[in-house]
């Protein structure tokens, strides 16, 4: 490749990425605006709170990407052409970004001292003034903080949905880095692919340094007096990583978060008050969440039953879907086991065994914002000719998609423990198997649950491209049977029924798993952790 065409390629890739970034920023803007209103509304209205919180809690654990084939089908049917496709992509990214921002807004209002409400009554502030002068400034720090995290999650959805869309010319995104990655032009040449990856990473780092970092600094400076404690960041990280974890985080001993001696007592009082107030939110999710979950499952099952009764022929479809679900389920959990084998030692090393975890953390943050699915072409090329390469590709993507959640959430949950715990280990000389048994594993369990639930959701999300990856008009890698593949095929075949059935089945399965596996685990752990 000569210099001119190389330069041309870089410029094209930069333009592609810029288009993707426009989608990302559009989604972020919409997410923030909606989150602010919904979050404040939920925090200030008792009845709304009881409905909104549990719903957001369920939605943030669903693998929403699985809905994408359905969403794109519906939206493009209503608005044909590239506008519809782009709307579908942006919509999807919003569904990945919005939940943790809503929780962030909700919680910032909930922890506001009561005096703020009294002030606004005392001075007779109008609704709009109250919003502008009290609520908005109060929520901005968390909004910014959560946005950074939402961005990383959104990137995965962006790339995955763009790659997915190219699988079917009718729904293909024309310009975008995900679309480019999956085009024969790029996958055909290692150099071009490497460049695409490089351009993507440059954009990721530039966004972090030029957009989010200044924004964070601005908000911190602006809000210095509002006492954003450093540990709240740890907790909110954990929050993104999963809903149960956040609840566990808040239940962990609050006084163990205190570091500085001077303000220890006041901080303790404040945290105490805060956790009492937050308990309200947790209880709300627990109480109404279960009811809403059962209602949702019942509704879906009733729907499926109705469809079957009116259309007995569909039983065949259901059998197909269930079979596919079982295969993907096995793949997802096998990959999760591998992710644990990698993630647990890495987390323990970072939390307890090195003093340089902050250095690694930066590296990991950059690495983790590279969506696993962008590596598909490389993995496919690397495995060419290997038996079962389609299966292996899917599992590798699942592992890569899940392992970061395990590492980050264990690390962030560990921050909510007393910072002195590693010193306890040193002072009393706890070593070897004893240290693993009594300290390491126990300390990361809450993070494993938090990370586990989100890692698994991420794996299901990845399945729509990892199980059936197309380049141009060719299938580059595919599994034998899988629900991700089924979704792809049903979209190409315009088979709405099959698609809906698959989505309904996935939803029921995830909700059941969350209720009967993760929730149980969470309960037994939270009893122990207090």
């Amino acid at each position: 490749m000569d210099f001119i065409s190389l330069l041309g390629l870089i410029i094209t890739l930069a333009i592609d990425t810029a288009f993707s970034w426009v989608r990302m920023f559009a989604a972020l803007a919409v997410s923030i605006v909606i989150s602010i209103f919904v979050g404040i509304y939920a925090a200030t209205h008792k009845y709304a709170e009881k409905i909104i919180l549990p719903i957001v809690d369920i939605l943030q654990t669903l693998p929403i990407l699985a809905f994408f084939p359905f969403v794109i089908f519906i939206i493009v049917a209503a608005i044909p052409g590239s506008i519809g496709i782009n709307l579908a992509v942006v919509f999807l990214i919003i569904t990945s970004m919005i939940w943790n921002i809503i929780f962030g807004v909700y919680e910032s209002i909930k922890v506001l001292p009561k005096e703020y409400g009294e002030i606004s009554k005392l001075y007779g502030l109008s609704r709009i003034e109250r919003f502008r002068k009290i609520y908005l400034p109060a929520v901005m720090p968390r909004v910014v903080e959560q946005s950074t995290l939402s961005w990383s999650i959104g990137l995965f959805y962006l790339v995955t949905s763009e790659i997915f869309s190219t699988g079917n010319s009718q729904y293909a995104v024309k310009t975008g880095i995900g679309a480019a990655i999956a085009s024969p032009l790029i996958t055909g040449s290692a150099l071009a692919y490497g460049l695409a990856l490089l351009v993507f990473i440059v954009f990721v780092i530039a966004t972090r340094l030029l957009f989010f970092k200044p924004l964070e600094e601005y908000v911190v400076r602006y809000n210095r007096h509002t006492q954003q404690k450093p540990e709240s960041r740890a907790i909110s990280y954990a929050k993104v990583m999963g809903s149960f974890g956040s609840r566990i985080a808040r239940r962990l001993n609050p006084q163990q978060l205190i570091r500085s001696s001077g303000s220890a007592k006041t901080a303790m009082k404040k945290r105490g008050a805060r956790s009492v107030r937050e308990e309200g939110g947790i209880a709300t999710i627990e109480k109404y969440g279960t009811a809403i979950k059962y209602a949702a499952v019942a509704l879906i099952i009733l729907g499926i039953a109705y469809v079957f009764i009116t259309n007995p022929a569909l039983m065949g479809y259901e059998a197909t879907v269930l079979r596919a679900l079982v295969y993907t389920f096995a793949r997802v959990w096998f990959a999760f086991a591998i992710a644990l084998l990698i993630g647990v030692p890495v987390s323990v090393y970072l939390i307890f065994l090195t003093r340089h975890s902050s250095k690694y953390l930066l590296l990991f943050q950059i690495l983790s914002s590279i969506p696993a699915t962008i590596l598909l072409p490389a993995i496919v090329a690397g495995l060419k000719g290997t038996p079962y390469h389609g299966e292996i590709t899917a599992v590798i993507i699942f592992v890569l998609g899940g392992v970061w959640y395990i590492i980050f959430s264990t690390m962030n949950m560990a921050k909510t423990l007393s910072p002195s715990i590693p010193e306890v280990k040193g002072i009393y000389g706890v070593k070897g198997a004893d240290a693993w048994k009594k300290i390491y594993i126990r300390a990361i369990i809450p993070g494993l649950i938090t990370g586990g639930i989100t890692a698994i959701a991420a794996e299901w999300n990845a399945s729509i491209v990892a199980e059936y990856f197309t380049v141009g008009n060719n299938v580059a890698a595919q599994v034998g049977i899988g629900v991700g593949k089924l979704l792809d095929l049903s979209l190409s075949a315009n088979n709405l029924t099959l698609m809906l059935l698959a989505v309904a089945n996935i939803t029921v399965m995830i909700i059941l798993l969350n209720t009967f596996v993760w929730k149980k685990l969470y309960r037994s752990v939270s009893k122990m952790y207090g």
Partner: protein, 247 residues
């Protein structure tokens, strides 16, 4: 006999931020030493250096004449935030303190039970730290520190996360055990920012300057115990400590 000697300790995170300039002091046998100084002057860091948890940038610590380069079973530590492991029962938390001892599990258990009892917590062996009040948690933390029969007890603001009444009771319990030789502990080094507490408990008071810190003054306090906090002598000593701190 000198239990602990800190010799010309200095510490910096980076060349620009020197925290501890040059600090030397020692703790004799049967001496209760308090370190007091402005916030951020490196008291906690200094205590961790003595414990062998942190390597000093310069200088060294001697424990019974031997250089410290890592935690040893002769010196134990009490943390400001208790640092209990929430997933272990109170008894198991105390047993953690025996990790370096060559004892069977049941012997460790026995020791831990005795120590919990001494701290007034019998009946709470099987429950978890989260059911305890702050004062009781710190009792578990102190039991853990004492269960291995350390000769030197290091405490980093052990009472400052507690409310004043609780702290008062715990302080008098601790000093009672120490001075009545109920425990094999020979000397105590305690970090505090509470002048009254320091004067009440200590035989020797080391006042540190602000960072980069050095020893601003050393005061020997020979008031007889139990000390009357309203007595003129007590108040005079407090005044002079405040005066040094304000400099």
């Amino acid at each position: 006999m000198k239990m602990v000697q800190a010799k010309n300790i200095s510490y910096s995170f980076s060349p620009e931020s020197v925290i501890i300039g040059d600090v030397s002091f020692d703790a004799d046998k049967d001496e209760f030493v308090s370190l007091i100084g402005p916030s951020g002057c490196g008291k906690s860091t200094l205590l961790r250096i003595i414990a062998g948890l942190v390597k000093p940038t310069g200088g060294k610590t001697l424990y019974m004449g031997k250089k410290v380069d890592g935690p040893s079973s002769g010196m134990s530590f009490v943390f400001q935030d208790f640092a209990l492991l929430p997933w272990l029962t109170n008894l198991d938390n105390v047993k953690i303190g025996c990790s370096m001892m060559k004892l069977s599990e049941s012997e460790k258990e026995k020791k831990a039970e005795i120590m919990l009892d001494k701290m007034g917590l019998s009946g709470f062996e099987r429950s978890y730290p989260n059911v305890l009040s702050g004062g009781m948690k710190q009792r578990v933390g102190i039991a853990r520190a004492l269960v291995s029969d350390p000769k030197v007890l290091l405490m980093d603001e052990p009472f400052s996360s507690l409310d004043e009444l609780t702290a008062e009771t715990l302080r008098s319990d601790i000093i009672y055990h120490l001075k009545n030789k109920n425990l094999p502990v020979n000397s105590v080094i305690m970090v505090t920012h509470n002048v009254e507490e320091a004067v009440e408990l200590s035989d020797k008071l080391i006042i540190l300057s602000k960072k980069p810190s050095h020893v601003a003054a050393t005061k020997h306090i020979d008031l007889k115990r139990p000390r009357n906090k309203r007595s003129k002598e007590f108040l005079d000593i407090m005044d002079s400590v405040y005066a040094t701190l304000a400099k």
